[in-house]
């Protein structure tokens, strides 16, 4: 006869109901402190924030794989430094959403203001509306998917990672770009210095398909995009330019 002691092990106390923070009644710091004090994400996996009303730094510095649903629009730096959290903004985001994200996922159901995903090192940022200027500035490994358009100077000095734009890009896309890859489905108003159109090879189509899959986008095909990247002419000092300095 097999005897198991599994049934006698104490059941783990898991709080499946989300922990709700009403920012009309609770200071933002209490929310962020509670998020920073999570010991084990499995114990309290679901969080909800109501009445954000444009607050700054909502759910900044999350470093556990928890889900945070934000019901409304947020201000500066929502989800900044995110490392593993899955943050959804059911509204629009102010400047610097997902700034310096390390890993995890941020979804903005509305629009994002300037420098979305700036300096991001990893993870996935999905903007279902439009992103304004400087989207992905100095990105360093993050993947950014924008369903709408991106504004001027997007991917400025972008170092690595992928910026995927289903709509159009504004002026000076990819100015002074390093090795980030840019995929734009619509028009590009103008390219920045050292950013050029590049050929889509099968490995790029596969890479783009994988990002679209992760972003849950099924209604467009990788073949509809144009790839842009660095011409690599600014990497080394060119003596012919000496007179310019």
């Amino acid at each position: 006869m097999n005897v198991s002691n599994v049934a006698t092990a104490p059941a783990r106390a898991v709080n499946y109901a989300p922990r709700v923070f009403d920012l009309a009644a609770t200071p933002l710091r209490e929310l962020n402190l509670a998020l920073h004090q999570i010991a084990d994400a499995a114990d309290e996996p679901a969080w909800e924030v109501v009445n954000p009303k444009g607050s700054h730094a909502v759910a900044a510095g999350v470093d556990k794989p928890v889900a945070v649903e934000v019901r409304g629009s947020v201000g500066y730096y929502c989800g900044g430094m995110n490392d593993g959290g899955e943050i959804t903004v059911h509204g629009s985001a102010g400047p610097g959403v997902g700034e310096n994200m390390m890993s995890g996922k941020i979804v903005v159901k509305g629009d994002a203001s300037q420098y979305a995903g700036a300096t991001g090192r990893g993870g996935l940022l999905v903007i279902e509306g439009n992103a304004s200027s400087r989207c992905g500035i100095s990105m360093k490994g993050i993947d950014i998917v924008v369903r709408g358009n991106v504004g001027h100077m997007s991917a400025f000095m972008a170092q690595s990672g992928n910026l995927v734009v289903l709509g159009d890009a504004g002026d000076a896309l990819g100015d002074s770009i390093y090795e980030a890859k840019l995929f734009v489905r619509g028009s590009v108003k103008s390219l920045g210095a050292d950013c050029i159109k590049k050929k889509m090879h099968p490995k790029h189509l596969a890479r783009l398909q994988a990002i679209l899959d992760r972003a849950g986008i099924t209604d467009v095909k990788p073949e509809e995009f144009t790839r842009y990247g660095s011409a690599r002419t600014l990497y080394n000092f060119n003596i012919d330019n000496a007179d310019a300095y």
Binding site: K53, G54, G75, G94, S133, H152
Partner: protein, 298 residues
């Protein structure tokens, strides 16, 4: 930093609430600019009458007998409505120019904030909430207004360094940003005969617009000229007798959010300022494009 708000009402039934809505918007942006605050509010225009808003460091000395003394000089009875350090002097419209000169001659410490048929301008140093309370902004009514909370970066925290700055009859300007060529422009404008109260860059932008308008441009054209001549960072909001306008510089790093419903058009440096407006959940909310002049008029 600095915070800007603007509210242009389409629905007349909101007019009694204009001051209350605008002052709440202003207070919500306190941490963008806790040094000083100001508001330009448009309303109460009367046929053939004009308003001059004045400010005095000694209101108890300067305001009480002003109406009587002014009447002797201009031959018409003004009304003087005192609000803390400011007073609104109402005179016949054809006497505005004369009245402005006489007020400055009679009261050397008084500064003119602006004048026009509809505009009243109030500004002071202090937290936006304190400034709003001082002038009882929340009780004011009107058709539209703009406001500013200042975090001074390039000139002193003084009443005259606060925004809005008048650019002409019923016109004023608020600014978030900093201009880098204001000293040179100020010298050029001084050569044209314009005078300045402060070392403030926004005052130069206001004088620049006034000068362009004096040379025959309309406000929209003057703002377009500014794109060429004003070097630096700016989100400008301008108030006019019938409406308000928005212009961002080509780089557009100073924030700006617009919201529009059937009842109003609202501007805020951040969405926060708009979050409590009636019906904001269903408003069209967007960021104004760089180098693009936006205008709403009645």
């Amino acid at each position: 930093m600095c915070g800007i708000v603007g509210l242009f009402l389409k629905d007349k039934s909101l007019e009694p609430q204009l001051g209350a809505l605008l002052s709440e918007m202003l207070v919500l942006l306190t941490d963008r600019g806790p040094d000083s605050a100001g508001i330009a509010i448009y309303g109460g225009a009367k046929e053939g009458r004009a308003k001059i808003t004045i400010q005095s460091p000694s209101p108890a000395r300067d305001f009480p007998k002003l109406a009587v003394e002014l009447e002797k000089e201009i031959g018409a009875r003004p009304t003087v409505t005192v609000k803390s350090t400011h007073a609104v002097v109402e005179v016949p419209a054809d006497k505005v120019g004369e009245a402005r000169e006489v007020i400055l001659a009679l009261r050397p410490d008084v500064r003119i904030m602006g004048s026009g048929e509809a505009v009243e301008i109030y500004k002071e140093v202090g937290l936006p909430e304190a400034v709003a309370k001082r002038f009882d902004l929340s009780a004011m009514t009107g058709t539209h207004g703009i406001g500013h909370t200042r975090m001074a970066t390039e000139s002193a925290v003084t009443t005259m360094g606060a925004h809005p700055f008048s650019t002409g009859p019923d016109q004023c300007l608020v600014h978030n940003g900093s201009l880098s060529n204001h000293n040179n422009l100020r010298r050029e404008l001084k050569r044209e005969g314009m005078s300045f109260e402060t070392e403030n860059d926004t005052e130069v932008a206001a004088a620049y617009l006034s000068s362009k308008i004096a040379h025959g441009q309309n406000l929209g054209e003057a703002l377009e000229s500014g794109l060429k001549d004003l070097d630096g960072f700016y989100t400008f909001v301008v108030g006019t007798k019938n409406g308000f306008g928005v212009l961002r510089d080509p780089i557009a790093c100073k924030p700006a959010v617009l919201a529009e419903t059937d009842r109003y058009v609202a501007f805020g440096s951040e969405y926060r300022a708009l979050a409590n407006l009636p019906g904001i959940e269903d408003a069209k909310v967007w960021e104004p494009e760089p180098s693009t002049v936006y205008f709403w008029e009645h």
